[in-house]
């Protein structure tokens, strides 16, 4: 076991915010496209008719398929329950969390968690943990890859409940640092993952845009569905500085730029805007689900919003 906090709870468990989990409790991450699974249930599987093992009941929520209602339970208790199976789906999701130095940026306007401002990386940690928890909870297989210039750790997707702990431990142990080489990592992973699945990328994407887009295209080429969670800090979007400042590169500390921020503010914002727009267009063209996340907004709200939106679109 890892470290514990003051309440005797393992440190990695902090990544699972009960409040956040409560908000996404009724939501399921449903693959929008075709995934390679066995269960004809929540996910459309190319392998239809494959039997599954019953696992547990879950209370019916509006939107669940009426065919999945366990009518016997309804007969006994007059309540609607859905039968859930161990291998309900064969959705394999891989969460790619950018752990480069740039992700370590903590803005003054970021959302707080337990009184602390969230860095982009911390924000990504919470996002990854929540998504992993959600998917494990749905019996989906989820894996994790952390990287900077190289893949730091790769945890293959598993759907066991205990796998969540492995992922959370890895997330908790990971620290941001080093430079970024997104395209290279993405290309590597695209080659590495053979089964089609969902690739969730959590990153600020501070790298060569065209390279990134080509790498994303590589994933798409491999029939992976991509959920791109673009995490940026509020300061990176507003550039609120007005006095002479010495900007130190978080990825290369020796790299510094001294300037009057006002002199480049508009230019900077225009470039960021162009970057984001280009990214969005590129994602749209590749049918990549692109989600902008500002650390100013609480990650759970953003996540819940996204999931609700995704479900609404899927159904």
């Amino acid at each position: 076991m890892g470290k514990t906090d003051g309440h005797g709870q393992p440190e990695y468990m902090q990544l699972l915010d009960p409040e956040a989990l409560g908000k996404i409790h009724r939501l399921e991450l449903i693959a929008r496209g075709v995934v390679e699974g066995f269960v004809s249930g929540r996910h459309k599987s190319p392998y239809k008719g494959f039997s599954v093992e019953f696992a547990e009941h879950r209370e019916y929520v509006p939107g669940d398929n009426i065919r999945d209602v366990d009518w016997r339970v309804w007969g006994r208790s007059d309540r609607y329950y859905i039968k859930q199976y161990i291998e309900e789906t064969n959705l394999r999701a891989l969460i790619l969390l950018d752990a480069s130095g740039s992700m370590g940026y903590t803005g003054r306007r970021s959302a707080r968690h337990n009184g602390d401002r969230l860095s982009k990386f911390r924000y990504g940690q919470f996002l990854a943990a929540s998504l992993a928890h959600l998917m494990i909870h749905q019996q989906d297989a989820v894996g994790l890859a952390t990287f900077d210039t190289d893949t730091r750790r790769y945890i293959p997707p598993r759907s066991r409940a205990s796998h969540l702990r492995v992922i959370l431990q890895e997330l908790a142990a990971c620290r941001p640092g080093g430079e970024t080489s997104l395209a290279k990592i993405f290309h590597d992973l695209a080659e590495r993952i053979h089964r089609r699945g969902l690739v969730i990328i959590i990153s600020d994407l501070f790298d060569e845009l065209e390279e990134i887009l080509r790498a994303l295209h590589h994933f798409r080429y491999r029939k992976h569905e991509i959920l791109l969670l673009h995490v940026l800090a509020e300061e990176e979007l507003t550039f609120p500085f007005d006095g002479w400042s010495l900007f130190r590169n978080l990825e290369r500390l020796a790299h510094r730029i001294q300037l009057d921020p006002l002199s480049v503010k508009s230019e900077y914002l225009a470039r960021v805007r162009r970057f984001v727009r280009r990214l969005e267009i590129g994602c749209g063209q590749m049918n990549v689900d692109y989600v902008r996340l500002s650390t100013r907004n609480s990650f759970d709200v953003a996540l819940a919003h996204y999931l609700a939106h995704r479900m609404a679109r899927t159904r």
């Binding site: 740039s102 992700m103 370590g104 940026y105 982009k120 600020d204 501070f206 790298d207 295209h217 798409r220 080429y221 800090a233 990176e236 979007l237 507003t238 550039f239 500085f241 006095g243 002479w244 400042s245 010495l246 900007f247 130190r248 590169n249 978080l250 990825e251 790299h255 730029i257 001294q258 300037l259 009057d260 006002l262 002199s263 480049v264 503010k265 508009s266 230019e267 900077y268 914002l269 470039r271 960021v272 805007r273 970057f275 984001v276 727009r277 969005e280 267009i281 749209g284 063209q285 590749m286 049918n287 902008r292 996340l293 500002s294 100013r296 907004n297 709200v301 953003a302 919003h305 939106h309």
Partner: protein, 799 residues
């Protein structure tokens, strides 16, 4: 440039403030750990050059603004001249000396230099403070105190300036400054200033007369509490100006009689810039124009021809004065020019009817032409066809022998006394003759073989000096050698320096050089002031020695004027030579009618004077002044003198006397009163021909004058008025600088605004991000992309 609040110049250090702030800003730059370096780097790369230019421009503007502000607060003062005189809060006495010379009548831009000088004098009065007292001196050949003592009533001084006219002639600067010092001495204020407003004409400064300047300095030192500041304001004179002047009006003889014509020479000089051709010269006697021998188409003026710049031409007239008494001769050059005041010259000729000459001969001879002065007597009053009556001759000789000299009661009845081969004179006669010379009489001595050299060498006047100015060393009688050519001596024409013999100096027209001198006295001239050798013989011995004794002259010849000593009496030159010598000697006995500026007019009254009679003088400016009447000598019985001393201005003066005092002169055209009642005996104070040349003072000339007086130069009126006030001419420029500051401030604001606009700081919207925000632009862009690009599915490359 000076600064009235120089301490504020320290504020120029504020120029460094923007630079320091910039440096501090950079040093205090806040450290920001930053992730999105790629965008920052790209932004900076694309704008770094522009940012640098903008920053430099802004910093420059701000530095300039602060510097300009400090500069303006220091109250810079732009001088337009020099500090001439330190400021003084005390009241001061100011003597304004106005150059009233002829050159000040030079006109330029519609006003004469004198008018401009008077205007500037009024400007000086304008800047005078309460308590300042001003005197005015009109400086001409003499200094005329217009406001003699400094007056605090400046209006009174202004009134005096109103009617002021140039005195003419040349300005006598030391005299004018002396007068100014005298007037300042009468003032009660401690601070003293003399302001000389002049055209800078060099004539009259007399810079070589160092004694006069030293005297001026001494007088200023003694009579004033402190040496006065002499501020010389030099007026600008035009560079191009035309001027011809009558440079001279001379008569060939000093004594003019009614017996024969006299030649009148008029010299016309071109003193301006460029050649000129006057229309001619017009000569008038008592207002009646002379008939010219060579009439010209334009009238009766005598042509001069074209006169080059700096050159002169002489026009000669011959005129026979028919009536005795004074005549006014005026010569005018007909040429419009910039200095008309010198286009006319005046001369008064006192024409004599008779010139009594006393000839004292050594002894009388019974033989014809055997006497010592026979030839001389004939030469003095030669009979001619024109004047068969010897009484018509001007010269009226009277012969007495030396032994009868006691019979001559009064030598003063004669204009000239000739001692022809007189051995010696009785002591009383010698003494009376000496006094006669002192009083203006002329004596011609021609000692012969019998002359007592001890008498002549020892004959002294009241001043104890030799009357003759020379010693008779020895008498040389050339031996007559048989068969051998006698070695005569001759007068050497090239040695002739005496005015009376100048006519005979030219061998081409004179046979003086051919006259053979057989016997002669060897003369040794005294080394005394007033003694000069007028001519010499070809053996270098003196022929003529002149001695000026007080008012009169004594001429001593080495050779008597008799046939016995030389053959001169049979030469043509004998007669003119004798006449010229007599005229020359007679001249001092004539009352001077042409006097120098400041010289006293002294006219012996020919008629009767009664108690209560008055004499007055009409000055050239039309003023009427009283003249003084006094007896010629306190112990004499010989009549009265009318005197007048205020003869500063050049021009024609008229001494008006009762008719009975003038006698027959009263009827002469030149003396008779005109319709306005103006008339009288004419006198002329001539102008200085040099005044027409406009030689201006050089800086070294001022420096020479400054050796004696505290002399400052004011180049402009502004400098002059500031010299009175004690300030520096110029103006503060803080207003201009304030406007510049405002302009710089505005430029700074506009530049800042322009830079902000260019940087689009106000338009810099944050990038729309997050789940709950819609980036409109991004949406539009995406929509456009979707519409233009094929289906995303088609984009996915087929495996």
């Amino acid at each position: 440039m000076t600064f009235l609040n120089a301490i504020m110049l320290l504020g120029l250090a504020a120029v460094a403030i923007p630079i320091i702030i910039h440096i501090l800003n950079r040093r205090r730059a806040q450290l920001v750990d930053w992730a999105a370096m790629q965008f920052l780097e790209e932004s900076l790369t694309s704008r770094s050059r522009r940012i640098l230019i903008e920053e430099i421009l802004l910093m420059l503007l701000r530095c300039l603004l602060l510097g300009m502000l400090a500069f303006a607060l220091a109250r810079p003062f732009l001088r337009t001249g020099r500090l001439l005189v330190a400021d003084t809060a005390d009241a001061q006495d100011i003597a304004i000396v106005l150059d009233g010379s002829l050159s000040m009548t030079l006109e330029s831009a519609g006003a004469s230099s004198f008018q401009r000088a008077a205007d500037e004098a009024r400007q000086v009065l304008e800047v005078c403070r309460a308590g300042d007292a001003v005197s005015v001196v009109l400086a001409g050949p003499t200094a005329q105190p217009v406001v003699a003592t400094p007056l605090s009533d400046l209006d009174a001084v202004r009134r005096e300036l109103e009617g002021l006219r140039p005195a003419g002639g040349s300005m006598d600067v030391p005299r004018a400054l002396n007068e100014a010092v005298r007037s300042l001495a009468a003032g009660s204020n401690l601070a003293k200033k003399i302001i000389l407003i002049t055209d800078g004409h060099k004539i009259g400064w007399d810079l070589d007369g160092r004694k006069r300047w030293a005297f001026l300095a001494e007088e200023a030192k003694e009579s004033l509490p402190a040496a006065p500041v002499v501020i010389v304001r030099t007026l600008q004179i035009p560079k191009q100006w035309r001027n011809v002047c009558v440079g001279g009006l001379r008569l060939a003889r000093a004594v003019v009689g009614t017996d024969r014509p006299v030649r009148i020479s008029v010299t016309v000089a071109n003193t301006g810039v460029g050649d000129l051709e006057p229309e001619g010269v017009r000569l008038a006697v008592d207002g009646v124009e002379l008939e010219a021998r060579l009439p010209t188409a334009g009238g009766q003026a005598r042509p001069t021809g074209r006169i080059a710049e700096g050159a002169s031409a002489t026009v000669e007239f011959d005129h026979h004065f028919k009536a005795s008494g004074p005549h006014v001769v005026s010569a005018a050059v007909l040429c419009p020019d910039d200095l008309p005041g010198d286009n006319q010259a005046l001369h008064v000729v006192n024409v004599l009817k008779r010139l009594p000459v006393l000839v004292i001969a050594g002894e009388r001879s019974t033989r014809p032409l055997g006497g010592d002065a026979d030839f001389l007597q004939i030469a003095l009053a030669p009979p001619s066809e024109e004047r068969p009556d010897p009484a018509e001759n001007l010269i009226e000789p009277k012969l007495v022998v030396a032994s009868d000299v006691a019979s001559v009661k009064d030598f003063d009845e004669y204009s000239v006394v000739v001692l022809a081969d007189v051995p010696r004179l009785p002591a009383s006669a010698a003494e009376r003759l000496a006094r006669y010379v002192q009083g203006g009489g002329g004596v011609l001595i021609a000692p012969g073989q019998k002359a007592d050299k001890d008498f002549y060498s020892g004959w002294t006047g009241p001043d104890g000096k030799r009357i003759t100015g020379c010693r008779l060393v020895e008498f040389i009688d050339l031996p007559v050698a048989d068969g051998a050519e006698q070695r005569f001596v001759h007068v050497a024409p090239n040695t002739i320096d005496h005015p009376a013999l100048k006519l005979l100096a030219d061998p081409s027209v004179s046979d003086l050089a051919s006259a053979q001198i057989k016997r002669r006295w060897v003369l040794a001239s005294d080394d005394e002031p007033g003694v000069s050798v007028g001519a010499a013989m070809d053996n270098a011995e003196p022929y003529l020695i002149q001695r000026q004794a007080a008012l009169g002259f004594v001429l001593t010849l080495a050779v008597p004027l008799d046939r016995e000593f030389s053959d001169l009496p049979v030469h043509e030159c004998y007669l003119p030579m004798v006449h010229e010598l007599v005229y020359y000697l007679a001249a001092p006995s004539q009352p001077p009618m042409n006097i120098q500026p400041g010289q006293q007019i002294a006219f012996p009254i020919p008629g009767q004077i009664s108690h209560g009679d008055v004499a007055e003088v009409f000055t050239p400016d039309g003023q009427r002044h009283a003249a003084e009447l006094r007896q010629r000598r306190p112990d004499a019985h010989r009549g009265w003198l009318a005197t007048f001393s205020h003869t500063a201005a050049a021009g024609l003066y008229r001494l008006a006397l009762p008719d009975k005092a003038l006698g027959e002169l009263a009827t002469r055209p030149a003396v008779a009163r005109n319709a306005d009642g103006v008339g009288g005996v004419p006198f002329v104070v001539p102008g200085n021909p040099e005044e027409s040349k406009l030689l201006t003072l050089a800086p070294e000339d001022y420096a020479r004058a400054a050796e004696f007086v505290n002399l400052k130069r004011a180049e402009t009126l502004s400098e002059l008025t500031h010299a009175i006030k004690g300030g520096v001419p110029g103006s503060e420029i803080w207003r201009v600088l304030a406007v510049l500051c405002a302009a710089l401030l505005l430029a700074e604001i506009l530049t800042t605004r322009a830079i902000a606009l260019r940087r689009q700081v106000h338009l810099a919207r944050p990038v729309a991000f997050g789940t709950d925000q819609a980036d409109v632009e991004a949406f539009r862009e995406r929509a456009r992309q979707l519409l233009q690009t094929p289906s995303p599915r088609k984009e996915v490359p087929a495996k």
